[in-house]
Subunit: 162 residues, 2 copies
């Protein structure tokens, strides 16, 4: 299947422009962290943004090594840690499994999961967040993050189980 030439050219142009913009943003992210901009770091950020969310360090490494066969996984681990510490990336850990990473979205949310069908609703509740802060303060902790997962039966599954 071929597209009309004009269309395809415009498409290519757009891609190039977008790549430049992203690259610029990536560079700014790295500079914001007070670090030097390197090809390896740009590739890692690209992999995190382009691929699916919740990837392991190994998965990031496998994507990046395609474009730069000489990269070492220590570099990936190192940079992921820095990104996590700076808050640009979220680290999610489950059991004893490898940590998974995702670009932190600006929009914070928690999850409400149906224990029967697995449907997930995202929600955000400012009052809960404030109470969490106050609990942490009460114990002398400086809050840096939280995991709140609610489990229940969704409307559909409540009907079915009756």
């Amino acid at each position: 299947m071929t597209l009309p030439r004009q269309h395809s050219e415009r498409h290519a142009e757009k891609l190039v422009r977008r790549e430049k913009i992203e690259s610029k943003n990536f560079k700014n992210i790295i500079r914001d962290m007070g670090m030097k901009v390197t090809d390896q770091r740009l590739l890692i950020l690209e992999a995190l943004t382009a691929g699916r969310a919740h990837v392991t360090a190994q998965e990031v490494f496998e994507v990046v090594v395609e474009k730069d066969a000489s990269i070492g996984f220590a570099t990936v681990y190192r940079f992921l840690r820095k990104l996590t510490e700076s808050g640009f990336v979220n680290e999610v850990r489950m059991g004893g499994l490898a940590a998974r990473y995702e670009m932190s979205s600006q929009v914070h949310h928690d999850h409400l999961t149906c224990t029967h069908c697995g449907k997930i609703c995202e929600f955000e509740n400012h009052d809960i967040e404030k109470l969490q802060e106050s609990v942490a303060k009460q114990f002398g902790y400086q809050l840096t993050g939280h995991v709140l997962e609610l489990y229940g039966l969704c409307r559909d599954c409540q009907k079915k189980s009756t």
Copy 2:
């Protein structure tokens, strides 16, 4: 400091009685799991109940090895896993740190964990629980459970990292 003889005798009696009762309960827990009762397993349960909550496998091992120098840490790990799978024990994991274990209590509580040293505080906040209920209701869910883990820097680690 010495106590009046009578008192001290009664005290000793109580201790013995309690030990027997606990030992019986421990045996029942093990039998409920369909496993054989061994001295090692009784000692592990004793350590989990007597010591402070939220201990690592290594910490359990260190307590138990005092009473039975020949025990291997594989035995501790193995049994802790079984206890966790059977729900008699709760496993709490934070970051890449060692898992921590506690006897599952009837009293519900959430955790506030230090991301630096792994120290865990338990808390209970009725307001948060009520808000969770209302979020669930809002989405038409019938709430059955939740996980709330707060992460932060404890007072000590805040000082150290300055």
